[in-house]
């Protein structure tokens, strides 16, 4: 018998604009102990579903039809008191933002002890014992000291572990997780996911895991449902979903995310056209039809489309699913096509940036060394605190280096901010920022940003010329020219990022800095923006410095890669060399943490101990020594590691000899 069974559920909101149906008709079942994943992009209704299960819909939310049966009771009819009893003891939830789930004015211990005292009625001593045991279960070292601390004294990853411990303390039979690792660094994310897997077995809890990231879901869940526009469009066991996806949306998602080993030349991404629909739009037939390459008028846009069985245990909501044939993804080429080898555009030579923090020194960038050539994509990879954004700011001229050299087309620019650079140099280095919501001035029509850049860089002088060039740039980024009169808030995230790209290319830059340009976008529009960026970059033969934490994406688009950790370059070299041994131990850990939706690859799991340490006053040895799983001994802490050069252009900063690093088992192997 199912633990949670949702039947024909309809959720709607009453708004000033009338009734808004967020979920028209949804059914799903979760068995006891099962790990169920729900994938969907922003606005598809996955959070609404979660709130409906928890009974947190709010005053304007309503469930006019359907049932949510949990443990023999219908939660849609349960009283507030009943719901409160179920929440916390039978159903627990872990939210996306751990910082807001903990009370900042109470110690961790106080907050944890409450749970067993409230739900099981045990005394304080017993509650404290249970809390300490659960903290040990979530692998927090020294539970007693953690219990005495306040939330602000813990890192993001530690807080999320505490929240998971708190959820598990009541021994719930169903654990809801709402994007619990979004906002965490990749290595921390991987550790939390492995923890969830481990605890699920230990506590025999069913999981309901919500995420927009197929790779994350693949790492945790047995069965996966894909949600689009308020409906479940496909529901299948994890392996079947990835091996034989049936719904065009699922197929679109899988072909629009880079697979490891694929690169832009051998296997280009195939984006899903259009963007995610606004929730609650009235429509006929399939919600995905407007973006679907297989949509047929007359079949896909009439009447409700039922969920059909494609296979035992594999349901799909598509009238054409048995006509589509298997999904064929372009096979990655065995060898990389020759990468660009133009003349050096950017030469970084022992570049440093130090900040004084009180009496301590923060080495945000420490003796960076690398070169980028014309037409190349140079990717800088690293977790938060690695100094990659500091470097981007120096390169753009928003900050200044405190040591070393940064030469752009043979001119030293590291010591000069934009104010001290020539107009030509400023136009030549432009930037696309990470957050689409902050990148455009909310008060200005979007065309104005582009027009202003054209004028400032002296590309256009007259009004008419400016207008013409704005139109041409908008066409270049595949936007209708009428969009230039719109305000940023009327645009989707992907459209805003396209405007930002048009603005950056207004002055014909020879170097473009892209700081995580797609990490805040919906999965289905990421590929389109990436392809756009790469196409323009290739057409103009400009150099791109691409900053990212997503290694699969870096593998796809980069020619050269620089891996940074705590301000220092750990490894650098051609992209192919970085993805096979010899690896730097940190690169190896990063690779093992990449969440990949690809069951044909077996990935070794490497656990990094602890958190990224404080960047203040680092010791003389290797920066990574404190977390390195391959640490040799005290030499790593006390002696600066040597630069090893296993092949031409490939550098590894490590004490371990190249021969030993080469013998390491590859992170990815065919399953």
């Amino acid at each position: 018998m199912a633990l949670l069974s949702i039947r024909d559920l309809c959720v709607e909101y009453r708004t000033s604009a009338g009734r808004l149906v967020a979920i028209p008709d949804l059914s799903l079942e979760i068995a006891p102990g099962e790990s169920f994943g729900l994938v969907g992009e922003s606005g598809c209704g996955k959070s609404t579903l979660l709130m409906a299960i928890m009974g947190y819909l709010g005053r304007n939310g309503a469930m006019p039809r359907g049932q949510i049966m949990f443990d023999g009771r219908d939660l849609t009819r349960a009283s507030e008191a009943e719901l409160r009893r179920i929440r916390g003891s039978k159903i627990a939830i872990v939210y996306q933002e751990p910082a807001t789930a903990l009370n900042p004015s109470l110690t961790i211990g106080t907050q944890l002890i409450e749970v067993p005292m409230e739900h099981d009625g045990v005394n304080a001593a017993e509650a404290r014992r249970r809390a300490a045991r659960t903290l040990a279960d979530v692998h927090l070292p020294d539970p007693d000291s953690v219990m005495r601390r306040y939330p602000h004294q813990l890192s993001g990853g530690q807080k999320q572990r505490v929240v998971i411990a708190m959820a598990l303390l009541a021994n719930p039979s169903l654990l809801l997780l709402d994007e619990p690792t979004t906002g965490l660094d990749v290595t921390v994310e991987a550790a939390v996911l492995d923890l969830v897997n481990e605890l699920r077995v230990k506590y025999r809890t069913a999981l309901f895991y919500i995420s927009h990231n197929l790779g994350v879901i693949a790492r945790v869940c047995d069965r996966i449902a894909v949600m689009y526009a308020g409906e479940i469009v496909e529901d299948a066991p994890a392996r079947a979903l990835f091996a034989d996806p049936q719904h065009p949306y699922t197929r679109g998602l899988l072909s629009s995310i880079p697979r490891l080993g694929a690169d832009k030349r051998s296997a280009p991404l195939r984006p899903i056209p259009g963007s995610v629909p606004v929730p609650g739009q009235a429509r006929q037939g399939c919600g995905f039809a407007p973006r679907c390459p297989h949509a047929q008028p007359g079949r896909c846009d009439t009447g409700p489309i039922p969920l059909e069985l494609a296979d035992a245990d594999h349901q799909v909501r598509c009238v054409r699913h048995d006509e589509l044939g298997p999904l064929v993804l372009p096979a990655p080429a065995a060898a990389n096509a020759a990468s660009e080898t133009g003349e050096p555009v950017l030469q970084v030579d022992a570049l440093s940036r130090t900040f004084a923090v009180g009496r301590a020194q923060l080495l945000a960038n420490d003796r960076l060394d690398f070169t980028a050539r014309r037409g190349q994509v140079l990717a800088i990879v690293g977790e938060s605190g690695s100094g990659k954004s500091t470097f981007a700011r120096i390169l753009a001229g928003l900050d200044r280096a405190t040591g070393g050299q940064l030469r752009f087309l043979e001119q030293e620019i590291g010591s000069r901010t934009v104010r001290a650079r020539a107009a030509r140099e400023v136009a030549a280095i432009q930037m696309v920022f990470q957050n689409p919501d902050g990148t455009l001035n909310p008060s200005h029509p979007v065309g104005r940003a582009i027009a202003r850049a054209l004028r400032r860089f002296g590309v256009a002088r007259t009004r008419r010329d400016t207008q013409e060039r704005v139109r041409a740039l908008l066409q270049m980024v595949r936007l209708p020219t009428g969009i230039r009169h719109a305000l940023p808030r009327q645009l989707s995230g992907g459209q805003k990022q396209r405007i930002a790209i048009a603005r950056a290319f207004a002055g014909n830059p020879s170097l473009l800095i892209a700081d995580e340009p797609v990490s805040a976008l919906d999965v289905s529009v990421q590929a389109a923006v990436i392809n756009l960026l790469l196409r323009i970059q290739a057409e103009q033969r400009s150099t791109m410095v691409f900053i990212s934490h997503d290694l699969a994406l870096v593998r796809y688009l980069a020619d050269e890669v620089v891996v940074m950790y705590l301000g220092r370059v750990m490894e650098s070299g051609p992209v192919a060399a970085l993805f096979r041994p010899p690896y730097h131990p940190y690169t190896e850990a990063l690779l093992s943490a990449v969440p990949l939706p690809d069951p044909t690859l077996r990935q070794t799991r490497i656990h990094l101990e602890g958190e990224i340490p404080s960047p203040l006053n680092p010791g003389p040895g290797c920066r990574f020594a404190s977390r390195c799983p391959r640490k040799l001994g005290s030499i790593c802490d006390t002696v600066p590691p040597p630069e090893r050069r296993p092949s031409d252009g490939h550098m590894i900063l490590c004490h371990i000899p190249v021969e030993d690093l080469t013998r390491v088992e590859p992170v990815f192997q065919p399953a």
């Binding site: 957050n435 902050g438 066409q475 270049m476 009327q490 645009l491 989707s492 992907g494």
Partner: protein
């Protein structure tokens, strides 16, 4: 940078994939002031304010007595009559006329004072929030010093020293309000300055002045419009208070606060002499405050 090599490759025969935005996006979304009719509170406030504005504007053409004309006959019976609907004051001057002409004073002095305070306060706040560092310290501490005085005391000291006049009231209001405005603007700027659109402007080598006035200030608009209305209310109170303390506009200029004060001498016998101007002050303040409340409500439901 040559202007010839424009990136036009996109137009070379490839279809523009999907028109991703409907043409309706061509007109900008209605702003705060244009959505005013959606808030009943704001409309009531606006009605009260407009009532006084219209009366003040029409004062010269309305069939009312001159505000300084004395009707010696009416002094004996100062209550309402056909000739004087709201009665006369102790000197036989028509109350209605003086209220309407008094509205002109308030409605001219208060907005001018607040506008000047805004110009100075915004400039201080922008500079402090954008440059930070010692500039911020100097401006913020100076503002703190002024804000640490009780406002009324500050006014009394100022006006008593520089003498009562419309200009001096403006000076006093500016001195007392600008630091508060500077604080608000500084806070808003601090929250905006880390947005990437500011960095993007710096990457175009825009001047600091351009960034402050064109990139930052327009985004402070919504909270500032609300604060502007509230401040007009406060300033109305201030002008009333100064008038009541005898520091308002020198007689015989009609001044609501002064009228309340003059009426107090006979308040037990003829309460209307104080009551009507008091009601006038209250209604105008209420109008400004309701308008501010409504705007806040609209800004929150955005």
């Amino acid at each position: 940078m040559s202007s010839g090599d424009l990136p036009l490759a996109a137009t070379s025969g490839m279809p523009v994939a999907v028109p991703e935005i409907a043409e309706e996006a061509e007109r900008p979304a209605p702003n705060l002031l244009r959505r005013l009719p959606h808030s009943r509170v704001a409309m009531v406030g606006l009605g009260l304010v407009l009532f006084w504005v219209v009366l003040a504007l029409l004062a010269p053409v309305l069939p009312i007595a001159r505000p300084d004309a004395q009707d010696y006959v009416a002094i004996g019976h100062p209550g309402s009559s056909w000739a004087h609907p709201l009665g006369v004051d102790a000197l036989g001057r028509d109350m209605l006329s003086r209220l309407i002409w008094g509205a002109r004073t308030v409605l001219a002095v208060a907005p001018i004072a607040v506008l000047v305070a805004y110009a100075i306060g915004s400039a201080m706040g922008l500079v402090a929030g954008y440059y930070r560092g010692w500039v911020d310290v100097v401006i913020s501490r100076a503002a703190d010093v002024i804000l640490s005085f009780p406002v009324v005391v500050l006014y009394v000291i100022l006006i008593a020293n520089i003498g009562p006049s419309a200009l001096n009231i403006v000076v006093a209001v500016v001195l007392a309000s600008a630091p508060g405005i500077a604080r608000i603007v500084r806070g808003l700027v601090l929250s905006l300055v880390h947005h990437d659109f500011v960095a993007a402007a710096q990457l175009r080598r825009e001047s600091d002045l351009y960034i402050m006035l064109v990139e930052l200030l327009p985004n402070c608009r919504a909270p500032l419009i609300t604060d502007f209305c509230l401040r007009l209310g406060y300033t109305t109170i201030t002008i009333g208070t100064l008038g009541f303390l005898g520091l308002g506009l020198p007689p015989p200029t009609p001044d609501w606060g002064g009228m309340v004060k003059q009426g107090t001498a006979m308040i037990t016998v003829y309460p209307h002499m104080s009551l009507y101007p008091a009601i006038a002050i209250v209604s105008l303040i209420l109008g400004f405050n309701l308008l501010a409340d409504g705007l806040t409500e609209l800004a929150l439901t955005d």
